[in-house]
């Protein structure tokens, strides 16, 4: 998008004029960027919830008829186990690596 493109002001920038430039929007966005601690503070409960949910999913499968066999042998769950290990070990691009684990080889 061209830097001089005009935008209508949006409600989260109430101090802005009726029309503002892409640079204005960008600089405002950058000023508001969160640091790592803030992101974790805002996201932790959801991360915790997703983790609990996944554990409960595995439990539910295991409790059902044939559960032990499915847990041990289903390749989809093997992929998820590999994914969880990767999430802990990997340092960057976890989502991209996870997508590749879950993709056709």
């Amino acid at each position: 998008m061209n830097g001089s493109t005009k935008f209508r002001a949006v409600s989260q920038f109430p101090q802005g004029s009726d029309e503002t430039t892409a640079e204005d929007v960008s600089s405002r966005y950058n000023r508001g960027m969160r640091d790592a601690r803030q992101i974790l503070d805002q996201t932790y409960l959801e991360m915790r919830w997703r983790c609990l949910s996944l554990a409960a999913d595995f439990d539910r499968i295991e409790r059902a008829t044939g559960g032990a066999d499915v847990i041990a042998n289903d390749p989809r769950l093997a992929n998820l186990r590999e994914a969880m290990k990767m999430i802990g070990d990997q340092s960057v691009s976890r989502a991209e690596f996870l997508q590749m684990i879950l993709s056709d080889k």
């Binding site: 409960l45 919830w49 609990l52 949910s53 999913d57 539910r60 409790r63």
Partner: protein, 274 residues
């Protein structure tokens, strides 16, 4: 299908929520006194709040055909101010005979502090003295297991407290055994992020059975809502449980627990077939 939401903070909800509940078949709710999202400065603020719970909210609910009951207490968070808490506790006994009061609640712990424990014990004493049922709030996250243990130990040590007249709320996978093995009712609160999801709530019902468990939305001023109760019903049915079994969980169980108060008029309906 008829529902009862056994724990919801209607003072924090809009009329849209009442309309939603009415459309879904919610016919009764119970509203425990709780933290308003800020610490109140005087006991008289609580006096006004109690009047809202007992006189205003039942009228508001009745417009949508919903029967509204309440529980009175000072919540665990504001119990940290012991002096204020004791002033608030003094306001409660004259209100316990009000036809909309089911008992003392939601009392319990928030951060498991010495002050919270002190005021919790004083409110248990009040419940015992006036022969009231008790609705228990358990802590939210990392404090929950320890707090639930402290609460149940205190209750068990008071021989005047009958466990079947106490509901330990906000139970999760790691605390529900503590409530059930000690003979208390348990509550499952369905929240979008904290507490349990509809799926995990149904997992718990499947693992522990549906006896003496109530499911609630605990809708308040945060991320929550009455649809979490009906979503849990849908998940319960999606798993092949019968309508009768669902009625037992989402209607009859609250009737059984609340029905220990002569003020509660609704009776269990039908027979559960599992």
């Amino acid at each position: 299908m008829k529902f009862i939401d056994p724990h919801i903070h209607c003072v924090s909800r809009t009329t849209d929520d009442y309309q939603y509940m009415a459309r879904c078949g919610v016919v009764a709710v119970s509203e425990p006194a709780f933290w308003a999202g800020y610490d109140r400065s005087t006991a008289s603020s609580f006096g006004d709040y109690f009047r809202h719970l007992l006189d205003v909210e039942p009228l508001r609910a009745a417009k949508y055909g919903i029967d509204h009951y309440a529980w009175l207490c000072i919540n665990a968070k504001e119990a940290e101010n012991v002096e204020l808490a004791r002033e608030v506790i003094k306001l409660i006994p004259p209100l316990l005979d009000h036809p909309r009061v089911l008992g003392v609640g939601e009392i319990g712990l928030n951060k498991n502090t010495a002050n919270e424990i002190k005021i919790f014990e004083e409110q248990v004493e009040m419940a015992a003295k006036y022969d009231q049922m008790i609705l228990i709030h358990t802590p939210h996250l990392q404090d929950k297991h320890k707090g639930t243990r402290i609460i149940t130990d205190i209750l068990k040590n008071d021989k005047r407290i009958k466990p079947h007249r106490v509901l330990i709320d906000h139970c999760e996978e790691h605390t529900i055994r503590i409530a059930r093995e000690n003979g208390f009712w348990s509550g499952l609160t369905v929240y979008p992020v904290t507490k349990v999801t509809p799926q995990r709530g149904c997992d718990i019902l499947e693992q522990f059975g549906t006896d003496m468990i109530c499911v609630n939305s605990a809708s308040d001023w945060g991320e929550s809502g009455p649809s979490n109760l009906t979503d849990t019903y849908l998940e319960f049915r999606r798993r092949g449980n019968s309508e009768e079994a669902a009625t037992d969980v989402f209607y009859n169980n609250p009737c059984r627990f609340f029905g220990q108060s002569p003020k509660w008029k609704l009776k269990p309906i039908g027979m559960a077939t599992g």
